[in-house]
Amino acid sequence: MSAGRGTATRGAPGEPRAVAYLYLAPALLVWALFMAWPLIRAVWLSFYEWDGLSVGTWVGLDNYVAVFTDPELREPFGHALVLLFFFSVLPILFGLVLASITARADVRGAGFFRTVIFLPQVVAMVVVAIAWRQIYEPSGPLNDGLRALGLDGLTHAWLGEQATALAAVGLVGTWVGTGLCMVLFLAGLSKVPRELYEAAALDGAGALRQLWHVGLPALRGEIAVAITLTVVAALRTFDLVYVMTTGGPGTATRVPAYEVWRWSLNEGRVGYGVTIALVLTALILLVTVVVNQVAERGER
């Protein structure tokens, strides 16, 4: 790519230039082989009943019908909805509260709080899962704490009981996601002119009304991003479940991403597993598009 030849030197970057394809070629090659091709293969595999070893049989749309009708395959998607509340709704609410009090009160050490509260986001999920397993142990800190408060009746084998396992996993998602939301919203709030708050305060608006009328409208874009990121995280939950509960007790914490792995690589029903993965992908695309459409429309 020497500078001295023909079209290469004519015109600055910005002018039409076929050499761009040279810059793109290596990336496009990797993308084609390790992103596009597997995706095409996934669609192909979803029309087959295949055990991963012998010859597969074409089953048309059977796998898709099964995902939407078979209660065993549908259940994980129900669980994913529950996780949405913990991974998305709660972190966004907590993030809003934390960000707005930090911004409103001009908190000293805001950088410190931001860093600490964000920290769970960077720790490997396997580590997070192991830490929280200890907390949820029957004789772990959570139950100890409840007993110390005299609330012995509330103690549980949190991950071992059908009724509490999914929520216990979900709460870890809240713990991980809150910092991300807080940081996003802090960045958004820092762009709101102080005078707007002062004006609202002069008009007699309290902290909550100020957040509602001044903070929230300014955060539209950040909230859209937070919804997208947290919903995708909820739908993709795998490591947490794999390490904390392996889908149990019973089927209580089976989630779509875990089922993808279980069916296609453990149970030898590759077509099933891949179909779940594709439905999951479609859901993620749908959420991304809808959230961003709504956010953009609101901006006009």
Binding site: R17, A27, L119, G179
Partner: protein, 268 residues
């Protein structure tokens, strides 16, 4: 903004409470890691748990594997993203919009969707249980964000400087390497940090691709260690600390860049 002393106090209390909750599980695991592993052993701190976990759990190998894979992914993804970002950000050519959106699909396709076909294809090529089976798919997934991120940087770069360099006879490659990239060090660094964090923490890909124990990455090794080693929690906690530490240290050293990177990458 001026708020009442009472509100200020409540604000600090809430933030402090949130910080304690954020730190608590991490502190628990650190404290557990320093406790005696066997019941009835002497009290006090037991830093030798780390050495013991390192040895018994084979974490020297796992951490080295993670370092090799992360290093390669960061290097390759960073170089490729700079090239694509430059092309999309500074050049006009046929099909640029279509190609850009094609690459961007990678931001939305979860690895769950491609990991299974990849596994069966790579297995038939004899490529499972290799570093390549971890590196190449991870590069493919990093490229979408990298392209997006670097395109935004190159678009915002100074036209005048580029123009001046061109008048001095610099070609497009020269402009990229001698002018735009040195100026864009913060942007490139932030991106590389994110690539490192994502690759180091990745779990599904190694779980599917790697059966050979000598090729396990740190999170995978940790998950296996948990399955095998159920008697004492101190060694498990020590191993967890070993796995988390590299990313946490990098994060704490660079948190300003890191957080800004996350936020800007997300909001753009």
């Amino acid at each position: 903004m001026r708020v009442s002393a009472a509100e200020r106090a409540v604000s600090y209390a809430v933030l402090l409470f949130a910080a304690v909750i954020a730190l608590y599980p991490l502190v628990i695991i650190l404290v557990t890691a320093l406790r005696p592993d066997q019941v009835g052993a002497a009290g006090g701190l037991h830093p030798e748990n780390f050495a013991e976990a390192w040895r018994r759990g084979n974490f020297g190998t796992y951490l080295r594997n993670s370092l090799i894979v992360s290093g390669c992914v960061v290097a390759v993804s960073t170089v490729l993203s700079c090239l694509t970002g430059y092309a999309f950000g500074c050049m006009r050519f046929r099909g640029s919009t279509v190609l850009f959106y094609l690459l961007l699909i990678g931001l939305m396709v979860p690895s769950e969707a491609i990991v299974v076909p990849l596994y069966y294809d790579l297995r038939s090529l004899g490529l499972t249980d290799t570093y390549l089976s971890l590196i190449l798919p991870q590069v493919a997934q990093s490229l979408a964000f990298g392209t997006f991120w670097m395109r935004a940087y190159f678009r915002g770069s100074s036209r005048e400087v580029v123009e001046a360099a061109r008048l001095d006879g610099a070609g497009h490659f020269r402009i990229l390497t001698s002018i735009l990239l040195p100026m864009g060090r913060p942007a490139v660094l932030t991106m590389a940090l994110l690539f490192f964090m994502w690759t180091w923490n990745e779990f599904l890909l190694p779980l599917v691709m790697i059966t050979d124990e000598s090729l396990r990455t740190a999170p995978l090794g940790l998950s296996n260690f948990q399955g095998q080693y159920t008697s004492g929690t101190a060694l498990l906690a020590a191993a967890a600390v070993l796995v988390a530490l590299p990313v946490v240290v990098v994060f704490l050293l660079t948190q300003r860049h890191f957080i800004r990177g996350m936020v800007e990458g997300a909001v753009k």
